[in-house]
Amino acid sequence: MRKLGEKVLITGNEAIGEAAIKAGCRFFFGYPITPQNKIPEYLSYRLPQVGGCFIQAESEIAAIYMVFGAAGAGARVMTSSSSPGISLKQEGISYIAGAELPCVIVNVMRGGPGLGGILPSQADYFQATKGGGHGGYHMLVLAPSTVQETADLMADAFDLADKYRNPVMVLADGYIGQIMEPVEFKERPQKVLPPKDWALTGAKNRPRNLIKSLYLDPEELEQHNLKLHRKYLEMAKNEVRVETHLTEDAEIIIAAYGTVARIAKTAIKMLRERGIKVGLVRPITVFPFPYETFAKISEKVDNILVVEMSLGQMIEDVKLGVCGKAKVHFYGRTGGMVPTYDEIVTQIEKIVKEEVA
């Protein structure tokens, strides 16, 4: 539908769908939930056009296991949902991580806990980055802050999933999902990825393949977990992505990701006009987290303000990176409330005043 290289005005949710198709994804299994409905709606007509398969599953749980089945059979496959639905998927994500299957999971976050609300939130950060299901695993988690970046990261997400045989989450929020912005689906060089010789395709001319996560022998399970752990260390070594914005001369740093980061950029512009030199560190991967960037920046500045659409989740990772070398402040709105640039400006001015006093 959308030609490569052409700029089109579409919502983040539609960009997710189209970028998945461009990345070769041919299978989508999902369940309706606001504010991500445009993703399944878009793919329900686009996938059949390219010979793909769309199923509206009976539940989020069934959807994630259809993903498990298709991923295990060698497909490029994804699901999408929003916070309460992602909670339902956690069992399956743990099994997918345990069985080392590649897939992409999109979370268009909304307010919680419980049924919560339907407006944007970033309160699923812990769930996304610390292993939301049981057993101690990690997804690789990408957090876009514009519709263009969402499209770009979707394409990367499928490659990363295949590279590591691991679930990859694109962690967006209700804003990213529903705003319209110009997007260009870029021509991308074909990545060389490991062959899927482990996939279940019928045991013809080879020993049969097994996809499983049960290891009753504790020594064997420990070895399996160590293998998974080495994979997470590899991700931390190779895949960390972070944007630094006006950090060179900055005296105060704002740390924010996703939608909040773009609001912070406006606040930084206003603050600089008032003579306060503020910069931004924006994690693009929230797992693996850019600890190193925060370690380095905390050598140069005394104050870091973390801004989130939650009451403080990413701040824990920022503190781990800073390791006591700078003061870490926090400002957050929650429940679907979004911090404004004026609020961020006020917070920074408060920090400046305290420093002078």
Binding site: A62, Y65, M66, G69, G72, A73, R208
Partner: protein
């Protein structure tokens, strides 16, 4: 001399972990025989359950998934949609299929997924030590229905075959038993028919096997087969509940 009996080629030459008198070994063997007879081993993908038969992949030599509890039909759906040319089956117990996995089995059947389901009903949770199952019959004592299942306290046993047969999407639904040789022969006939329906692309097929669990029931093997005949079959009548439109069901 002519060889008249041998281990099916689709079965690994290993002893099973099942208790003496358990029906799983019989149903595994029927499955392997059917795979051999259709010559489809290289095209078969199986999905194992959680329960006593979680290790089915140690016995059946084909590509296999190990599913989470109850989710096998969703996994089979994902696989079959990716590879419509493969033959995909799930193997599930009554806790797996009739309790935690009711949504998945109902909707896979209703979508008419072209897969085959082997559903082993032994009226109890075997692997976890004999707790009440959704299929535990009235009056049956288990470790979590110590007074015997009463409709007032625990409700009635679920009849999966009858329930799924009401769905437009299901093509073939049968209930068989493996408590004596005659029943086993009939069971194999039904299983072969179920696979044939999938091979011909006719849609969803499920065979429910009534099976003995001497350990879980606290009986000898002989008592257990008798209990299937005298107690289980009256609660779960045998027969075909849904057949392709061109056929009449065998009662």
């Amino acid at each position: 001399m002519k060889k008249v009996f041998e281990r099916p080629k689709s079965m690994f030459p290993v002893p099973t972990h099942y208790c003496p008198g358990c029906g799983h070994g019989i149903v595994h063997r029927l499955l392997a025989e059917v795979i051999d007879e259709f010559g489809i081993r290289e095209k078969v993908v199986g999905v194992g359950p959680v329960g006593c038969s979680v290790f089915i992949y140690n016995y059946i030599n084909c590509d296999m998934y190990e599913a989470a509890h109850g989710r096998a039909p969703a996994i089979a759906t994902g696989c079959k949609r990716m590879h419509p040319d493969l033959i995909v089956f799930t193997y599930q117990g009554d806790g797996d299929l009739a309790s935690i996995g009711t949504a998945e089995i109902i909707h896979a059947a209703n979508r008419g997924e072209n897969i085959t389901v082997l559903f082993l009903n032994n009226a109890i949770y075997g692997m976890t030590g004999g707790q009440m199952a959704p299929t535990t019959i009235l009056g049956q004592k288990t470790t979590t229905s110590p007074l015997g299942r009463s409709p007032k306290r625990e409700g009635y046993p679920i009849r999966i075959a009858e329930m799924l047969a009401t769905l437009e999407g299901a093509t073939y639904i049968a209930r068989v038993s493996v408590h004596n040789p005659k029943a086993i022969i009939a069971a194999k006939r039904a299983l072969k028919k179920a696979f044939k329906i999938q091979i011909e692309g006719l849609g969803f097929s499920l065979v429910e096997f009534l099976s003995q669990c001497p350990t879980g029931w606290g009986m000898s093997s002989r008592e257990a087969t008798k209990w299937v005949a005298e107690k289980m079959i009256p609660s779960f009548p045998l027969g075909e509940f849904k057949v392709p439109r061109s056929e009449k069901p065998v009662k």
